[in-house]
């Protein structure tokens, strides 16, 4: 299981970086999203993957049940990161659209207006 998740995370990072290096605005954005997902899954995997034992203490018990229990904290972190990521990506999509409309191109190499000298 750990190996599978590790491979998946690696693939997501690789895919994300590959997409970011393309010249299109949309692909850049997809790349950024993939990177975000990769980071979230990485946190999940780093919290140790445990099968079938939810981190719940039964009512009235003073001790957690015996055996390995999933760590709830990484999941809380990921939940926060997903919400933040969603907001930021939604903004980036809108920004991409208005950049496209204003600059009239989705080719990143053409977005050189701010690097050029005064015209």
């Amino acid at each position: 299981m750990n190996v599978l998740v590790a491979l998946l995370v690696g693939a997501l990072y690789a895919g994300g970086l590959y997409m970011m290096m393309r010249r299109s605005l949309v692909k850049l954005l997809i790349g950024l999203m993939l990177l975000g997902h990769a980071a979230n899954l990485l946190i999940f995997a780093d919290g140790r993957l445990v099968h079938g034992n939810p981190p719940l203490v039964p009512v009235g018990a003073t001790q957690p049940p015996p055996g390995p229990i999933a760590d709830p904290l990484p999941q809380a972190l990921i939940l926060t990161a997903i919400v933040i990521g969603f907001g930021v990506q939604a903004f980036a999509v809108v920004l991409m659209r208005s950049t496209y409309q204003t600059a009239n191109t989705d080719d990143l190499d053409q977005l050189r207006g701010t690097d050029r000298e005064h015209e």
């Binding site: 994300g16 970011m20 605005l25 850049l28 950024l32 990177l35 975000g36 990769a38 980071a39 979230n40 990485l42 946190i43 999940f44 995997a45 780093d46 919290g47 140790r48 904290l73 990484p74 972190l77 926060t80 990161a81 933040i84 907001g87 930021v88 903004f91 980036a92 920004l95 991409m96 208005s98 950049t99 204003t102 600059a103 977005l111 050189r112 207006g113 701010t114 690097d115 000298e117 005064h118």
Partner: protein
């Protein structure tokens, strides 16, 4: 619950909300922003005073004991940064009264401005690594919108680069946080500081250190990650780029200093040599990039990069004097740099251009105003007796004591080149005869007051910190001591239980 620690975070949020509710009443929003910024500054100064008198302050949010809950903690360095960000908030809020156009004000400039301040203060005060990520995102999302507010073409293009690089850095930061949690089992920085030494895989810890270096390095605009900054900082309206130039990269520097004094000190020989090399390259590339520019704010943007190098140099030298120099330098640089951007904004407002070749004759038409520019510019270059001189002096002295002659040479040469760029602006915009085509659009008296009050105040502070540098240096020394020996920080967060 320590109200002083919570106030710099909660108060800006309250002001932002009030401003949101008064969406259509711009006069009210403007007045509110100034009053809100005054209160914020007063609160941050009170925090600084409390930290100076009583030592490191900490409070556990929601009553969850550290390391399980989120801790807000202020040592001298944090408190100084919060105070200086309060000061920048106030000066830029006043400047915005005249320096921000009505259209952008109508689209929520003031609420965004205060949310930005909230994010910045939160990042300075938090004692939890994941919480630091959240504050970074709060700050970033506000800065994204401020960057592109108004939607001019240059803004959108610059903004897109800014957003991309910052999201990339956030992804790195988040990954590093995840691995760190998997390795050490905690995210409380004081707790991490104790546990990272016990981790049995030094290779993994070093990998993490470099991941954090890259993540914060992008935000702090160090070499080789800086190129997004000069591509974007000159595009938004002046008040926005002034507050960005003053504060945002310094949050990255703050995070770097925090990481590499509190957490990653296991292999100083490796990490801090790396930092030293980066510092040298950051200074040189920044200042050389600036030398080639002909646009007022673009030139200044490259100088931000170059100045970051000095701060990283102080961290890399890793002696009390060097760290004190770095802290002093951060404070000085925020004030001087913001002021230069504010001056650039006035020039733009007067002549409608920031292109140095099209400007000229400012010294003849406005001699006193020109002197205000000169004060900040010379302070940036490190001319005595202005504030920059003492920062550079401490850094150079610390470098000589540590026998790091290479970096000292670089620092001195770069400061000469800085002076060259500043004289270039001076000669082009202020001294040479005005070109024939140059037309001045007159300012109303009220506008002039809103422009000039913050600039005079910041220039006066630059002079004051230069002439009476002793108190600030003492404060910086105390900050450096606490950074190098974080026992007090750890005890304040975790209590006597583990201290």
């Amino acid at each position: 619950m320590n109200a002083l620690l919570v106030m710099p975070v909660v108060w800006p949020l309250a002001v932002a909300l009030m401003a949101l509710f008064a969406w259509r009443r711009r006069q009210f929003q403007a007045a509110l922003s100034v009053v809100g910024a005054v209160v914020l500054l007063a609160g941050s100064l009170a925090l600084l005073q409390a930290v100076w008198r009583e030592g490191v302050q900490a409070t556990q949010i929601g009553g969850w004991a550290a390391p399980f809950g989120i801790t807000l903690v202020a040592d001298t360095f944090s408190a100084m940064m919060v105070a200086i960000s309060g000061l920048m908030g106030l000066t830029v809020a006043i400047y915005s009264l005249a320096g921000m156009d009505e259209r952008r004000k109508a689209f929520g400039y003031y609420p965004l401005f205060f949310i930005l301040l909230m994010g910045v203060n939160g990042a300075f005060l938090t004692g939890d690594l994941f919480n630091l990520y959240v504050w970074f995102e709060v700050m970033l999302i506000a800065s994204f919108v401020l960057m592109v507010l108004g939607g001019a073409r240059a803004q959108l293009e610059g903004g897109f680069k800014y957003v991309t690089l910052n999201l990339m850095s956030s992804a790195l930061f988040l990954s590093a946080v995840g691995i760190l949690y998997g390795t050490a089992g905690t995210l409380n920085m004081a707790d991490l500081s104790q546990r990272l030494g016990e981790v049995s895989q030094p290779g993994l810890v070093m990998t993490l250190a470099v991941l954090f270096l890259a993540a914060f390095g992008i935000k702090a605009a160090i070499f080789p990650f800086f190129f997004w900054l000069p591509a974007s900082y000159h595009t938004p309206p002046t008040p926005v780029s002034a507050i960005f130039a003053g504060l945002l990269t310094k949050v990255g520097v703050y995070a770097l200093i925090r990481m590499f004094t509190l957490l990653f000190v296991q292999d100083v020989a490796y990490t801090h040599t790396l930092l030293m090399v980066i510092a040298g390259f950051t200074m040189v590339t920044g200042v050389l990039g600036a030398a080639a520019q002909n646009d007022f704010r673009r030139l200044l943007s490259f100088h931000i990069v170059s100045q970051i190098g000095y701060m990283v140099m102080g961290l890399a030298l890793w002696t009390p004097l060097a760290l004190a120099g770095a802290v002093f330098y951060v404070v000085h640089n925020i004030i001087a740099k913001t002021n230069l951007f504010l001056v650039a904004g006035v020039v733009r407002r007067l002549y409608g251009t920031e292109y140095l070749k099209e400007l000229g004759g400012l010294y003849r038409s406005r001699p006193l105003f020109s002197l205000l520019f000169l004060v900040s510019a010379l302070a940036l270059a490190g001319i005595p007796p202005l504030s920059g001189f003492w920062g550079k002096l401490s850094l150079v002295q610390a470098g000589l004591e540590a026998k790091q002659y290479g970096i000292v040479t670089v620092a001195l040469v770069v400061s000469l080149l800085t002076l060259y760029s500043m004289t270039k602006i001076w000669a082009q915009a202020f001294w040479k005869d005005p070109p024939k085509a140059l037309e001045e659009s007159p300012l109303r008296r009220a506008e002039w007051v809103a422009f000039i009050v913050p600039i005079v105040a910041l220039a006066a502070l630059t002079v004051l910190f230069g002439l009476a540098f002793e108190p600030v240096l003492q404060l910086s020394m105390r900050a450096a001591e606490q950074l190098l020996h974080p026992t007090e920080y750890i005890r304040a967060v975790l209590g006597s239980r583990q201290g």
